[in-house]
Symmetry: C2
Subunit: 323 residues, 2 copies
């Protein structure tokens, strides 16, 4: 289990059980499908979405088996979107291993993602989850895909401004965090206000998480990230640090380079330097802090319990992470 | 509406309503998503799966609104798989128009397909369909994807024998036909035997349909097909006509060419000629007829009604189609 959870043995133990459910469900499929997907589960990342679902559900009537299943569904959903993202981004690495699209080909990766999507809905239909949650899940996935489509549409153009960036991130990242925070709570019969509050906390954490991710694309290390550094930039995704740096780029030296595409290594280096020079990283970090603060304010309003304390500590870790 | 239904104004009218439901549901999404998908719906093909669902449901308690919705869901599901298939096959044409992957790029097509998958589950959760059907649908889509993965795995290899071919087609094509024949009937509360019988009919029609499709890849015309002729062959998919021809290719002249990949036009022509010379088309046609006969036998066991007559006539048309 990721070391994020080292200090919380209870969460860590429950996530281990979620991971086993994921693996069991993938094992119902054919051998070579299992072989391609299981390594990704084993190197399972931080399992943030599953953890947030479990922690939120604890504000209501916590049914362990049901919640572990639901957390597994959310993680499989996330896995499906990652596999499809890697096709688009041509990513070689995922969670420190060779990505499915790179190892098995893009063709395979399209269907592997599709199978995982179906697996989620198949698992949802096997337990007595509310139709309402089924609706929320399918809507969230639509939002994620729309966010990805928008992001892709704006590749290599400087037309992405702050407003468009926020819309993209609201879809591609925050939607799944909102879902993780709210569907567990809903199944645990939390009252409507608590579900809404948790959803808002999820939104702000999701936004902060993505901004930090975008920052790491500029100053993170490949080894720690488990994926290539500057990969977004090289793919032509102009994220928050660039958008904010451009606001101070009066001479046009940054925008001139960005008007090209398929940057060479020198250009990548220049862009990173200019983004730093024009305070892109610094300003983006402030925005991440603002979202984090909003998340904290939300968490403060939750009833006192162990989950609340864990949420606070984890959010603090996320904003300061380097992986 | 496709001319297949010209003789059946009632079916045609109902399919028109199904088409409107599909369009309305797609219109809930963003403008450019609509613009990319609606043309595919308008040039909507034969809508066979929807029609089979409606015709089967008529053997039970027919609730028009519910069945039209369910038929729309099945067609959207089919659309999603087509969009993803076109990515894999690099197809330029679909239903006589430029394919989404060709017009908007593969990246876009991945997410467009994903959105349509989610749309299905979202629609399913809005009506009071049985969880049992939700399960059947997600299982069927998994089967379809597994079939596609297998097909892709065997590209440009002569390892596909008759048994493997049947397994591939059972997944990639027949699974959705089985679903179309059975879920409408199940929702219409047909008794278990009738649902099973309809499922078997669907399976045999699906198998016959795919074999005829594979035959058309050899002797169909691009204009009539709405997609390129010999496209399967050029992509390295060795379908039934080749598999059967190879059984008579004692001299090895066909297998020698097949051991290459990326055939030039001359090689494509030689393969087509050799497949004909070694009776590949003739024998495949016999197999299609055998599946059709099984479908007829099944249909005969259904209770007498208008749907039964229409099914018989449509199946006869399908086996003799050239598009």
């Amino acid at each position: 289990m990721s070391k994020v959870w080292d200090k919380y043995p209870q969460v860590s133990k429950e996530l281990e059980s979620v991971k086993n459910i994921i693996k069991e469900n993938i094992k119902t499929s054919e051998k070579y499908f299992q072989d391609s997907v299981i390594p990704l589960v084993d190197n399972g990342g931080k399992m943030l979405r599953a953890a947030f679902l479990l922690l939120s559900a604890k504000f209501g009537k916590y049914d362990k088996k049901k919640m572990h299943n639901l957390a597994a569904i959310i993680e499989i959903l996330h896995l499906a979107t990652l596999i499809h993202d890697d096709i688009i981004d041509n990513s070689k690495l995922r969670r420190g291993c060779e990505s499915i699209q790179s190892k098995y080909g893009k063709e395979y990766a399209v269907y592997a993602g599709d199978i995982l999507f179906c697996q989620c809905f198949s698992m949802l239909s096997q337990d007595d989850y509310t139709m309402d949650n089924m609706r929320s899940i399918s809507k969230a996935v639509k939002k994620i895909c729309m966010g990805e489509i928008k992001q892709n549409y704006f590749r290599y153009t400087r037309k992405v401004d702050l407003k468009k960036y926020i819309r993209i991130v609201s879809g591609k990242t925050a939607a799944l965090f909102v879902l993780s925070f709210s569907i567990g709570a809903k199944e645990a019969e939390c009252d409507e206000n608590t579900v809404k509050l948790l959803g808002r906390i999820g939104y702000n954490i999701g936004m902060a998480f993505q901004v930090v991710d975008d920052l790491l694309d500029y100053d993170g290390e490949t080894k720690k990230l488990g994926k290539s550094a500057q990969s977004d930039l090289k793919q032509g995704y102009y994220t928050l640090p660039i958008i904010l740096a451009l606001q101070e780029d009066k001479s046009g030296e940054l925008s001139n380079i960005l008007d090209n595409s398929n940057f060479n290594e020198d250009e990548v280096k220049s862009i990173v330097d200019l983004v730093k020079k024009y305070n892109g990283l610094e300003k983006a970090r402030k925005i991440a802090e603002r979202y984090t603060q909003r998340a904290f304010n939300g968490i403060e309003q939750l009833q006192d319990c162990e989950s609340k304390d864990i949420l606070k500590q984890i959010v603090k870790k996320l904003i300061n992470r380097c992986y």
